[in-house]
């Protein structure tokens, strides 16, 4: 080849190679440096060429080991390969360099030159360390695993290694397994079809066999779960004795059965409770309806006149019957609510009409006590979505309380107004009020303060607590305010306009 071409090629090679290249004269000054050197060490030709090697890059090459190489080893040996230098380079950090050095004699009289090839092997070494650590960890896992592990080569799935767990599980030592097929150490032949396995592993990466019977060295057969995993140049086969899994599964099945049985029993008990409530309700009301019906017809003198005594007595029977009916209805409602069995039948209610209906009912009481009722019902009151019987019950309870606990000549009032997504109803009176220490107790069933207004013949002690529960079932809220004894009472409750019931 022509010298010019060789020259060009040589120069090209020097500039193309990855490794950093330095050419030094006998005084260790840099005659030549390649592009890789400038790029790797982030220096310019100006800073490099002609300088002492030790002066380069802020004297970062002034390293004892380099001096050792250039001044002692090379003059003697003429070439040295794979000389490792580890240094904390100011500009690069801690790096390990691998150096190849060669001395070239130029003939008599001419100075010798030194070629220095520098390879930064820091990253390579790091990877090697990581790989080594990983292998150590894997080996540790392999040796200490509870599951049996077989490592198989990928051509014919012959065993390369087994871990101690395999030996413990099947009774074959490592030497007895190496080079053999899995069939030879007790695995059923139909699970170890080499071609199929290799293809599956190729596609999915993992194969799972459940409940494989494997024969130990002793002849005893155990049930196992087997996982085969593709591990690049090997197949890793995990074998687990499923005695434990089966125990857990049996336990779960049993728990599941018990749960099913419990659920069935609960459902039956719940059904029984509903039936009981319905039956009790019917049984209690039937004779009571007779008592009320007959005594009412008598009292009205439908079948003939009564004398004063007869009239008085029959009137007592009638009012006692009605009282009892009220009590039974309230108790049954309370029981239903607390058993979570109270359902609401919703319809669109016109509050004004409802109120008027109830006011009619308490009208007699009000007239008798010469009381005044003040009504303040908002103008554009929307209809509400609620259970009409329950709302009537609430209004009746609260209104009759107001009337009952207010002395003659007193005042009671009803205010209804819209409040955002709810309507707010206030029933107030100028009556006996509630002492602050009783504020919580009034919501207890059958609680009654000893006042002349709570005669035993009237009231049940359930009106307020039941009303509160019914309000809450609709998704509303009920509260009571009173400034104290004889300062009147105010009951405030809300009902959502569109149902957000809890039942």
């Amino acid at each position: 080849m022509a010298t010019a071409l060789i020259d060009q090629i040589s120069k090209g090679i020097v500039e193309t190679i990855h490794e950093s290249l330095l050419v030094l004269d006998s005084d260790l000054k840099v005659i030549l440096a390649n592009r890789s050197f400038f790029d790797s060490f982030e220096v310019t030709p100006e800073e490099t060429l002609g300088s002492f090697i030790y002066d380069l890059g802020n004297r970062q090459w002034d390293i004892l080991q380099l001096r050792e190489l250039l001044e002692n080893i090379i003059p003697e040996k003429a070439s040295f390969d794979n000389y490792s230098v580890e240094n904390d380079f100011p500009s690069l950090g801690r790096r390990t360099m691998l150096l190849n050095a060669r001395q070239i004699e130029q003939g008599a009289g001419e100075e010798r030159i030194i070629l220095l090839a520098i390879e930064d092997i820091t990253d390579r070494m790091k990877l090697e360390t990581m790989l080594r650590d990983s292998e150590i960890r894997y080996r540790h896992l392999f040796e200490t695993a509870d599951d049996g592990i077989l490592l198989l080569e990928k051509k014919e799935l012959k065993i390369r290694h087994v871990n101690p767990a395999i030996t413990a599980m099947l009774g074959y030592s490592d030497e007895e397994c190496v080079g053999k097929d899995m069939m030879d150490i007790g695995f059923p032949s139909n699970t170890v079809k080499v071609q199929e396995i290799l293809e599956s592993l190729d596609k999915e990466g993992i194969i799972h066999y459940k409940d494989i019977a494997v024969q130990k060295r002793t002849g005893q057969v155990i049930d196992t779960d087997i996982y085969m995993v593709d591990k690049a140049n090997l197949v890793q086969c995990n074998v687990r004795d499923v005695a434990e899994r089966k125990e857990i599964e049996a336990g779960l099945d049993k728990a599941h059965e018990e749960l099913k049985e419990l659920t069935t029993r609960l459902k039956l008990a719940d059904l029984a409770k509903s039936e009981f409530l319905a039956n009790m309700s019917h049984e209690l009301r039937t004779p009571l309806n007779s008592i009320i019906g007959f005594s009412e017809a008598l009292y009205d003198e439908t079948f003939g006149p009564l004398n004063e005594k007869q009239s008085h007595y029959v009137s007592n029977v009638l009012s006692s019957g009605k009282h009892l009916l009220l009590l039974i209805n309230q108790i049954l409602d309370m029981t239903k609510v607390e058993a979570g069995k109270m359902t609401l039948t919703l319809s669109s209610l016109h509050m004004k009409s409802l109120l008027n209906e109830i006011l009619l009912l308490v009208g007699d009481m009000v007239a008798k006590k010469k009381m005044e009722i003040l009504l303040e019902i908002g103008e554009d009151l929307p209809n509400i979505e609620a259970d009409d019987l329950k709302v009537k019950e609430i209004l009746y309870n609260l209104l009759s309380n107001a009337v009952k606990f207010t002395p003659e000549g007193g005042k009671i009032g009803v205010r209804v107004k819209k409040a955002d997504s709810e309507i707010e109803i206030v029933i107030w009176d100028t009556g006996v009020g509630i002492a602050s220490e009783n504020m919580q107790k009034i919501f207890e069933a059958f609680f009654r303060v000893d006042t002349p207004y709570s005669r035993i013949t009237e009231g049940t002690g359930l009106g307020l607590p039941l009303s509160q529960k019914l309000v809450e079932l609709h998704g509303g809220n009920l509260s009571v305010e009173s400034e104290g004894l004889n300062k009147g009472t105010l009951v405030r409750f809300t009902l959502p306009i569109t149902s957000r019931r809890v039942a």
């Binding site: 004779p287 309806n289 039948t345």
Partner: protein
């Protein structure tokens, strides 16, 4: 001519009360204590109105009504259901029967007869 009413209820006290109230109001009252007797009497005597308890020992009141409505002899007799049930499902059954009304239990002794006279008109 006296109007004829058939009162059907399995509870003796209810029968007595309803019968007496209607009697005082000028009705001729027939009685039945169960569904089968009610149907028999209705077919034979053709009352002007039937007051029917929905809960009878042998059949539901609504079933009785359906049977009576299918028979051309008794198709047009107005029926008043007496029910303690206030649930809508109870009322749904009754709504499908033509020419019928329901009254809740316990009955209002003061308005019972009046409501029935009103309905016949």
């Amino acid at each position: 001519m006296k109007k004829r009413a058939l009162v059907v209820d399995d509870n003796a006290n209810n029968l007595i009360l309803e019968t007496d109230l209607l009697d005082v109001a000028g009705f001729e009252v027939l009685l039945a204590g169960d569904a089968s007797s009610a149907i028999l009497i209705a077919r034979k005597q053709k009352p002007d109105i039937i007051i029917l308890d929905v809960r009878l020992p042998d059949m539901r009141g609504s079933e009785v009504a359906r049977i009576l409505r299918q028979d051309k002899e008794t198709r047009d007799i107005p029926i008043i259901f007496v029910t303690a049930s206030v649930t809508t499902e109870g009322r749904e059954e009754i709504k499908t029967i033509t020419n019928s009304l329901f009254i809740g239990k316990p009955i209002n002794t003061r308005t019972f007869a009046k409501e029935i006279i009103q309905f016949i008109k």
